[in-house]
Symmetry: C2
Subunit: 329 residues, 2 copies
């Protein structure tokens, strides 16, 4: 394992220290318990958005804390759920009279810990569960996993909260975005968790992990290495079957790098996916290409589609000022 670090067990702390210095105009990083919150809390009641999850997916979630998106995020250790006391402290620090909306990726540990935090929190609160990974069937025993679609939920609901929507409306909006969002990924390599020091899984030079999760979990199956066209089509077809967009539908197309994939290749993947839907008469109305929901140093990518309407377009376009997404301010 060759990584830029001092000790595996200090990586998260030191990385968050750097993050807090680099973005001192946007965030404050608390250490005991550990969470990142906006530097400037709204001076009027506003639904507070709190998310979190294991580290290793940077910039998700701390990179999305700031005006127009999250109010706070709780990082756990690499690929490990944060604890309820982190979530509770984060929620209490940003709640200012309009309640808390927890945005939770569907993993057993995250779900359980956020449930405990929600019960402990005295303020009014609600939860949106993100489960956008369509590589698994909708009736999978533990449900579908939450992957790169999460940031789209956070961006759109973040904009609505900023505009003053109440807790019930924010929750309903988040669930609407979830229904209209589907993702699927593939990996050419495993990632290596620093504390473990060796790849999480092995994959042959002539194989691709299709439907991979963002922690390297197995997805649908292993397929032969092939051209990008052939591989990406397996992602787009699965997403298309799930969302069934009709001709004329406007979509947000998000190509996410899993950490070690060159941007040049991600734009090639975008080209393939965009043309797949354009040929069906779908309009690529908004786009996002880059490393946003990563899996440490994994080589691979995911494709995410959100079906847009005028409401979602306006909220996606609304000003946002975070470390990783910024426009309009």
């Amino acid at each position: 394992m060759k990584k830029l670090l001092n000790q595996p067990d200090t990586l998260l702390t030191e990385s968050l220290q750097g993050f807090a210095i680099a973005h001192a105009d946007i965030v404050i990083a608390e250490t005991s318990p550990r969470f990142v919150r906006r530097k400037h809390i709204a001076n009027h009641p506003k639904v507070a958005l709190v998310s979190g999850g294991g580290a290793g997916h940077e910039p998700l979630h701390a990179g999305f804390v700031g005006q127009g998106m999250l109010d706070a995020a709780c990082p756990g250790q690499v690929f490990t759920s944060p604890t309820p006391d982190q979530m509770l402290a984060a929620a209490e620090s940003v709640e200012n009279g309009a309640g808390v909306l927890f945005i939770v990726k569907n993993y057993a540990g995250d779900v359980m810990n956020f449930e405990i935090a929600a019960e402990m929190l005295e303020a009014e609160n609600a939860t949106v569960l993100v489960a956008d990974d369509v590589s698994l069937p909708a009736d999978h025993s533990t449900g579908r996993r939450g992957v790169a679609g999460t940031l789209i939920v956070e961006k759109i609901v973040g904009a609505a909260a900023e505009q003053g929507r109440d807790l019930a409306a924010c929750k309903a909006l988040g669930e609407k975005v979830c229904r209209q969002t589907a993702s699927m990924g593939l990996a050419l390599s495993s990632c290596t968790v620093p504390e473990v020091g060796k790849p999480t899984f092995t994959i042959a030079d002539n194989e691709v992990e299709m439907g991979v999760g963002i922690h390297g979990e197995r997805g649908r199956d292993i397929v032969p290495m092939a051209s990008a066209e052939t591989l990406v089509q397996q992602l787009t077809e699965t997403i298309d079957r799930d969302l069934s967009p009709q001709a004329g539908q406007k979509i947000l197309l998000h190509i996410n790098g899993l950490g070690a994939t060159p941007l040049m290749e991600l734009y090639l993947v975008f080209d393939i996916a965009a043309k797949y839907w354009q040929q069906k008469g779908i309009e690529i109305h908004r786009s996002l290409v880059g490393n946003y929901t990563t899996s440490l140093d994994m080589i691979g990518c995911s494709v995410t589609v959100t079906l847009l309407d005028e409401e979602l377009i306006a909220l996606w376009d609304a000003p946002v000022h975070t470390a990783a997404l910024r426009w309009g301010c």
Copy 2:
């Protein structure tokens, strides 16, 4: 070699097609000859900024085309200079009465081809040569290489051009930023050029390439693998000796990923570098952390420092709207 591509020789074309679809609101990609230009040319005379270089460094340079930064960029094949006819066509397409400033990284092929294009261009023009890699001595036979400091020159001069400064003033400003900017990188792995199919260089598991160039060129020497603290200090000390900032100096600190380094590690590198200068009484006044001047899939990073004054801070903060850098609009 496992990469997401169809054929190595179609990667650049297909990737640029995806780029043009994803950022159709900002850019237009021309194909014969190949260059990327702003969609909206200023309707008043404005110095046109044109850059370019081999592909494989994405988002540099096409990702920096747009309001407040470049007017056009010419991508060559991977790690290969674009040709003079690309540069000439790009310059002619964006020149609108105030002349053209070429921003050129110091590599023999780029320098020669931009010189030919400059001679062929009928419009008034000038060139800023970027040579910020201080891993080589200032009197190196071919001069120092242009690396991650290039985007800082492009951002600051781009803002000045947008504000109406004339060609001579833009060139002088660019040269000032170059004098006040220093970079140095290290690599834990080689990159793999798609057309070649195998790593550009070999490096042992217990070795680090110190002072690496953005094409995998040798820098200063090979050093033993060590903690991030030990490795990054070799970068910060070399930069510090070159720029000799005094206590109280404000700096822009840019940590650049070379392509396959997790963001979590880049923020750890930022933490180490920031504290190095903070302990000397230097103020980390602006920051930029991420993959901006990459070397395909190389694992590694570079540190760049620019000495700031009020003029440069205002120009850095000025609005920019490109695929890869965006704020204030």
